[in-house]
Symmetry: C2
DNA sequence: AAAAAATTAATTGCACACAATTAAACATTA
DNA sequence: TAATGTTTAATTGTGTGCAATTAATTTTTT
């Protein structure tokens, strides 16, 4: 132990390689990047794509419902949805039965995107180099953690 | 099949619940949120904390090396590092042997943060409700995917 | 019904992320 | 060595994320 190393002894728990959080954070961004060239063809960002996945499934959802499902708040969703509205892909209107809520609906151009996007999931999966079994196991483990933390 | 449902038949691969990307994206944000109250005490954001994890381990790193390890580019790192410099936690100087590189070093106040942060990993782990075995398995699986994708 | 509490979006301000471009320094090649 | 190409940060512009606040509406309580 020479005294030209005055810094604290390394704490293994404080090393990046031993963190769970970092691979989660980095992998999430890398997967988003894997989507990017495919989504660019559709003029969509990744969070915008997630909104459409929900709208293609449910036709109409309030901002609240979108936020609950995506774990995003109005500070993120409101400007994102306004950009989609400007492109005439979605509609935004107050719920007449509860004027607090804003209902997001699909416009024809937004619905038409679904067909163009249908190949996206398998194309990303192909880049992942995972067996369907591994894929399913990891998906369930992540979802389990998510429900425990959210 | 009634004709008041003019929309396309749902594609299972286009349902949010069947995606791997979404739990990854959402869990990553939730885990970052779990760090937030702990890091707030240190006046740190999560990506700033990651920078310090590396600096506590290596004392000095170039912006390039930080970017390679964190998978972040200068567009993200430069302003982040300038904020840390303004707090007198790190130093930024050109490498005299290669004036293209900027060397990031720890200042005393930045080094002193390590001790205050040493409990953070275990406190976050406690919130995760996972066995160490599960933790380790997931960590390695995520790292494996990351190296395949990055 | 009136007052208080809760719910829903929007807004504001700050900090990432990242694509694309620029500029400086260094390396390689003709 | 001069020209070309590469590497490294910084810059610019757009789009999230999110904490905190605000404003309008609805619900609950008194």
């Amino acid at each position: 132990m020479s005294n030209d190393t005055p810094h604290t002894a390394p704490n293994p728990l404080q090393q990046l390689d031993n963190q769970l959080c970092f691979p989660l954070y980095a992998l999430s961004r890398m997967v988003t990047k894997a989507y990017q060239p495919l989504l660019q063809e559709l003029d969509l960002t990744y969070p915008q794509y997630l909104v459409f996945l929900l709208l293609w499934e449910h036709q109409e959802l309030t901002v609240k419902e979108l936020g609950d499902k995506l774990l995003l708040d109005s500070g993120t969703l409101t400007p994102l949805l306004k950009r989609l509205e400007q492109k005439h892909w979605i509609s935004r209107r107050r719920d007449p039965r509860d004027e607090r809520s804003v209902i997001i609906g699909l416009l024809p151009a937004g619905r038409a995107l679904q067909e163009r996007a249908c190949k996206v999931p398998e194309q990303v999966f192909a880049q992942l180099d995972m067996s369907p079994t591994e894929f399913e196991a990891l998906r369930q483990q992540l979802r389990h953690l998510l429900t425990h933390l959210a």
